[in-house]
Symmetry: C2
Subunit: 211 residues, 2 copies
């Protein structure tokens, strides 16, 4: 476990992974647990996550990701897919989860349920999807920061054919749409990107303080 | 610094902060550094972050956030605002930052610049804004996960009048639109939400494995 600032300076968007190195089960579990524990609006988690190791499927995903080497060289390909329609059934299944976890009746949660349904109903389908996608990005952030602290390399990637990914992973029939992925594993010693200085806005460029 | 899984189990969306406790400068800097170091598409960071301590401004933000107590009880209010128009000027300023950081000429980065301009031009203004907002959510994820590990409480909040926040923080004239905030500080011993069991999808509900 690395010191946090050191970990965030060490991480970079890995282009070339060492294809011979795989995450241990313990390492993978830490990443998956981080994304699972990430907060989301109301706790709804309006997304699912696909974890791909299978070689032939990775080759197909690679074709749908413009041939980028990470898809086959990384240890695992982790695809985040947001719910296309955040509807009452999703909220009801969440309410049941709350009731079960906290030993409450679903009846006692009706006000909470109706508040969520009301909030969601006020949004267009497209707005709900964008909102669901943003929740998935919080989980992506948790996965990436945790990876860095655990000394695991990762590359967040948006450059792929989302519709093609949806087909390959059967997301359409689950009411999901792929939004972003993280390839994870260990950097290759050949990756020249590892040595480049990190480019970030300065504190003054990024932050405004109201004291 | 807490062990990661323990930290993520410990954190929760804090409703009531202890208004007498403030983050130290070192603690605040760790959170700001985490959001600053978070990755974004191409490294563009198409967002800015407002850090509010000022009492009267917090009261005004609270009114625009339906009176939620975190706005005045937390140590700091941190508002993420995405660029409403991701345009060539933003890309050019990024290219200059890359050139300066890595000791390259901007001329040598023309292909990279044109690739980004081409990619952005293919999107509608609304699509670009949504894409910018998602990048801000990765930074939010980094800030929240780091807070947990550092033993700092936080509450991610989307429930506020974004247009009103934009006015109060002068975001409109900077071409920004507020998308989400995190209130940060230390939980009050009175916050009954701290004791509630965390509700999360199980591994089987959240993940699909392709082995």
């Amino acid at each position: 476990m690395k010191e946090i600032h050191e970990a965030y300076a060490w991480r970079y968007a890995t282009k070339r992974f060492d294809a011979t190195r795989k995450l241990s089960k313990e390492q993978l579990d830490k990443l998956l647990s981080a994304a699972q524990m990430a907060p989301s609006s109301y706790g709804l988690q309006p997304f699912e996550i696909m974890v791909v190791e299978k070689d032939d499927l990775r080759k197909q995903l690679q074709e749908a990701a413009y041939g980028q080497p990470q898809l086959t060289e990384a240890s695992h390909v982790i695809v985040f897919a947001a719910n296309k329609k955040v509807h009452e059934a999703l909220i009801d299944s969440f309410v049941q989860r709350v009731a079960k976890t906290r030993g409450q009746s679903t009846e006692s949660l009706q006000d909470f349920r109706n508040m969520m349904v009301g909030s969601v109903s006020g949004k267009t389908e497209q707005e709900r999807f964008q909102w669901a996608a943003r929740q998935a990005y919080i989980a992506l952030g948790f996965l990436l920061s945790t990876a860095a602290i655990e000394g695991i390399d990762a590359c967040p990637m948006e450059g792929f054919n989302n519709a093609e990914f949806d087909k390959l992973l059967n997301l359409e029939q689950k009411g999901l749409h792929s939004v972003v992925m993280a390839t994870v594993g260990f950097r290759s010693t050949d990756d020249k990107y590892a040595a480049l200085s990190k480019v970030r806005k300065t504190v003054d460029e990024l932050y405004t303080f109201y004291k």
